[in-house]
Amino acid sequence: MSTLLEILSPSFLLRDAVIASVLVGLVCPLVGVYFVLRRMIFFGVALPQVSAAGIALSFLLYRMVVGPHQHGETPEQLLAVIGSFGFTLLALLLLVSLERAGREMVEARIGTTYAIAAAATILILARDPHGEAQMVAMLKGDILAATRTSLTLMLYVLAPVVVVLFAFRKQLLLVSFDRDMATVLGMRVTLWDALLYLTIGATIAIGVMTAGPLVTFGFLVVPPITARLVTRRMLTFSIAASLIGGATAFAGFYSAYRFDLPLGSAEVALASLILMVVALGNAMRLGIRRRFST
């Protein structure tokens, strides 16, 4: 209890990290809902890794063009966000356009993208040893490194993402659910897709910058899958996914702080545990219903 009070205290040393953690937990699932509904879950594995490669390249370019690293400084962080966002968006558009063109072997393409991105990240870092320390910390999901600057950057990026997802939820739903119907109604489906991909790219970029690829992937996918098991309306699905993500992030932070665990891994493990419990409860409920209906 005292640990909880300490974390909630305004003077808590890691307050920015708590807020960053909960923000990633709240917003990633809102985007992840569309990954699940559009059956793009494997994109969620590859894209954060691509984003990490973009950040690594940005660090390298910064050192080559500007000079020695100044971790935590705004220009370097901005460059990293641009690199991360640019790489993510490019990879997403490429993967989606190949899928739309009807090329087969979707999983192979996503797997290859992941492998290339992971290898590229390591190779780029090998050329930039000074950027390695921050990158390794990031890959582990070290949200504890969150600063006031990174928190401000998160708010600037994630607030518009949330606004877009809620303001245009009708259009995004229809384009995702029944593309043909949306076209017949005169909607420009390609533009709506582009808007969705922009929010996906921005969320993944900022998520990876703050929490690393593992946490970003975990929160993109696990809370929406959990929420899907217990909801039957679109709005409640999105809200439940976000709340599960936010609550899990906070509980994960508490566990990591209380038991001295790696933060990112603790959060994802807890989200997965909740998913397993809900899935088991759901299976039992359905089993009981079937038994009594026969």
């Binding site: 509904l37 059956r39 229809l174 659910f177 043909d180 119907m181 109604l185 899907r228 679109m234």
Partner: protein, 238 residues
């Protein structure tokens, strides 16, 4: 002189630049009830998708006797094309039809809800409005999709195999709803169908699609092409 609602002038339709149907010229009149028939793979769905604007017109022109931006066609897809992963209630699905007339950024209001409820009532499924869409039978889902198309407030209702994969009772219920909409509201209806004997008494005319061509003729003239029907070849497909 019949009032033309949709006119195809020397239209060529296909996919990836490859024509499936060539030089189609025909009209669909206001208030008409017609069926799109033909052998497997002849291009019935291609014709329907072309009329709906879902595939590009490779040649010729399609003219609409109504403003598509104000009153888009009511489209009923094959229900198998929709993904059951979406958590939706019956009412949420019907509400989608009202999005066409909803101003940008405006939330769904009382008018849209009332319209959706009215459409659901027209297909006889009001009691199921809060049920999960995916929990319904095939025939009920199809009727919900018809209600969604009606919520668009269309001039024409176009259905892609509305009775595929449903039992006889459900088929009767679906066709009864469609025929009633045509009869009582003078709604123009076109449907791709695979069960000619069942719809013969309901439709006025048929568009027969075969060998990259499509011809419109009165339903009474169809016995002339009965061998294909007898062979059970009048099923869906591209």
């Amino acid at each position: 002189m019949p009032d033309s609602l949709i006119t195809l002038r020397d239209v060529t339709l296909g996919y990836d630049g490859r024509p499936v149907l060539r030089h189609i010229s025909l009209t669909i009149d206001r208030g008409e009830f017609l069926a799109l028939l033909g052998p497997n793979g002849a291009g019935k769905t291609t014709l329907l998708r072309g009329i709906l604007g879902l595939i590009p017109v490779l040649g010729g022109a399609i003219e609409y006797g109504f403003d598509r931006t104000v009153s888009p066609p009511g489209y009923v897809p094959q229900r198998e094309k929709l993904d059951s992963i979406f958590p939706l209630t019956v009412f949420e699905v019907v509400l989608m039809g009202t999005y066409a007339r909803l101003p940008f950024l405006r939330a769904i209001g009382r008018r849209e809800r009332s319209r959706a409820a009215e459409c659901l009532e027209q297909v006889g499924l009001s009691p199921l409005r809060n049920q999960p869409f995916w929990g319904l039978s095939g025939g009920q889902k199809q009727r919900v999709l018809i209600a969604r198309a009606l919520a668009v407030e269309p001039e024409v209702l176009l259905l892609d195999e509305p009775t595929a994969g449903v039992d006889v009772a459900a088929e009767d219920a679906i066709l009864d709803v469609i025929a009633r909409l045509n009869r009582e509201r003078a709604l123009t209806v076109g449907l791709v169908c695979h069960h000619l004997p069942r719809i013969r008494s309901l439709v006025d005319t048929a568009i027969w699609v075969e060998e990259a061509r499509a011809m419109k003729r009165p339903i009474d003239e169809l016995p002339a092409i009965a061998p294909l029907e007898a062979a059970g070849a009048v099923t869906a497909g591209r």
